[in-house]
């Protein structure tokens, strides 16, 4: 058996759709065909070309203004007296002026502000990042990811061995009298540990792009690549509050993001979206409209179909199967 034949098996299980299953796509084509027929038969006054004006300069200008305004608010808060500090911790955003129609940049800056108010917990390598997420209503998935990638992780019913000293061991499954057993021959392969927490991730927006380029393979001139990577990190991994805030601040500086108000995440929770063009559709990071906590990433395809993740719970736990932890090592209070 060649590696090509093995690869072919990978795709073999995919069913061939009936034309009836592709009705939506066909309808879209027919609509376009009708539109062109109408255009062909009706005389056109003058051929016109649609000119897309680049919107970058406007967004950057708006971002600069909002950045200054948000910064003024945040610095104002931090400079006010100690009596504010306790109430800030319990309801950080409650101290900020209410914004009826925040811009994308304002949403991100408030999300950063709120994130920074959380206690900083530093996970230990032998612990797990537990997340409970929804990808479609009523269907929740629990995951346990090894913090340093050396222990076996679990995503829903699936597991992945840890990577120890650059090698990962897997057992072939074996069928034995109708039962499947994980005690077939062992094989090992080279691996790099898949971390769920990144101690070397910057805690400031500056330097975030090179870091994402180097460690996540993002293409620096591709907003969709950048923003989706940020969303994936937020949805699956554990980030320190300062790292989370740095990601939001970094995105706030990136041209091309827009705001979408009155959206819901894939669990149906209402929020405000920080959006960007993705393929032919749109993707967004959704935040609670009042508390600015992160809810999850959502994508809308060209046909209007939605997919994404709603983040319900995140915790650092000691073992796969646990849903609340012994606390991880709290970081020394050095003014994070």
């Amino acid at each position: 058996m060649t590696e090509l034949e093995l690869l072919r098996e990978l795709g073999d299980g995919t069913p061939l759709a009936e034309l009836a299953d592709l009705a939506d796509a066909r309808t879209r084509l027919m609509r376009e065909i009708s539109a062109e027929r109408a255009a062909v038969t009706a005389p056109r006054a003058r051929p016109s070309a649609r000119i897309r004006r680049p919107r970058r300069s406007r967004l950057v200008a708006a971002a600069t203004v909002s950045l200054a305004a948000a910064a003024a608010v945040v610095f104002g808060m931090l400079q006010s007296g100690a009596s504010h500090v306790r109430s800030m911790a319990s309801d950080p955003v409650g101290q900020l002026p209410v914004l009826a129609r925040p811009t994308a940049v304002q949403v991100l800056h408030r999300a950063a502000f709120v994130a920074l108010a959380s206690a900083t917990i530093t996970p230990r390598g032998d612990q797990f990042v537990y997340t409970r997420t929804t990808q479609s209503p009523g269907h929740t998935i629990q995951s346990w990811l090894s913090v340093d990638g050396t222990r076996a992780s679990r995503v829903g019913p699936h597991s992945m061995p840890g990577c120890v000293n650059g090698r990962m061991s897997m057992r072939l499954l074996r069928e034995d009298g109708g039962k499947l057993r994980y005690d077939g021959p062992i094989f090992t392969r080279r691996c790099t540990p898949q971390r769920a927490y990144f101690p070397d991730m910057p805690t400031r927006a500056a330097g975030m792009l090179p870091y994402l380029e180097r460690t996540q393979g993002v293409r620096p001139d591709d907003l969709n690549d950048i923003a989706k990577t940020v969303g994936e990190l937020l949805d699956s991994d554990y980030l320190l509050p300062a790292q989370q805030a740095a990601l939001y601040g970094f995105l706030a500086q990136t041209p091309g993001i827009t705001v979408r108000r009155d959206v819901t995440d894939v669990a149906g929770r209402p929020g405000v979206g920080v959006a960007w063009s993705s393929g032919g559709g749109q993707a967004m990071l959704i935040f609670d409209s009042r508390t600015y906590t992160y809810l999850g990433m959502s994508t809308r395809g060209v046909g209007g179909q939605r997919s994404g993740t709603a983040l319900l719970t995140t915790a650092i736990v000691a073992a796969v199967g646990q849903v609340s932890g012994p606390s991880a090592t709290p970081a020394p209070t050095d003014g994070a």
């Binding site: 034309l19 796509a25 066909r26 084509l29 065909i33 597991s159 094989f187 969709n224 060209v302």
Partner: protein
């Protein structure tokens, strides 16, 4: 490149040629090829994204139809090219799928026949290795590899789809296959593996 005697053109080419002035004829192209294009997209970016992108593929094709090279009676490679370009815009989704292939789960097997079970079981373990290898390929190499492995296109058809010389198709395929073999060879106990595989 529209031209030539329409009666001499066969298959898709004549349909597309006529659809330039009679747009409704283009629906025939959809009916002939959409299922296969959709499956190719599903294999790379998953069912949900494929449902969206198959529509986008044919819309793009429709808008470009006046530039179709009518010396080719079969439009499918042309459509694969458009679809592959769209996959390139969904790179993260594609990579995520291959990474997920590394996860080994307990719950996919409903076969009662022992041989089929073993073949499926082995296939799933291999899935884990191949998923990892696919992530490491350069995008252009992966495009060539999967058009050949998944869709069984010829070198000439891949060259047409991706608008590259046949020589480039060969060299990209060669490089991709080497990387795959290297990834599979990385595993110890490969001998046992091959023993199992040769029993299929």
């Amino acid at each position: 490149m529209i031209g030539g005697d329409a009666r001499a053109l066969g298959g898709d080419a004549s349909v597309i040629e006529r659809s330039v002035t009679e747009p409704e004829r283009f629906a025939v192209v959809f009916d002939r090829h959409a299922s296969h294009i959709h499956r190719y997209l599903a294999r790379r970016v998953g069912q949900q994204a494929a449902d969206d992108l198959v529509g986008e593929t044919f819309l793009t094709a429709f808008r470009k139809r006046s530039r179709y090279d009518t010396s080719h009676p079969d439009a499918r490679p042309w459509l694969y090219g458009i679809a592959t370009n769209l996959v390139g815009q969904h790179r993260r989704e594609e990579l995520r799928r291959y990474r997920l292939a590394q996860l080994v789960g307990p719950d996919r097997f409903g076969a009662d026949h022992a041989d089929r079970v073993l073949a499926e079981v082995t296939s799933q373990s291999i899935r884990a290795l191949l998923g990892d290898a696919l992530v490491g390929l350069a995008p252009g190499d992966r495009d060539v590899l999967l058009l050949i492995a998944f869709e069984e296109l010829t070198y000439e058809e891949v060259a047409r789809a991706l608008d590259i010389p046949v020589g480039t198709v060969r060299s990209r395929l060669h490089r991709a296959r080497s990387q795959l073999r290297e990834a599979l060879a990385e595993t110890e106990a490969m001998g046992t593996y091959e023993e199992i595989l040769s029993n299929d």
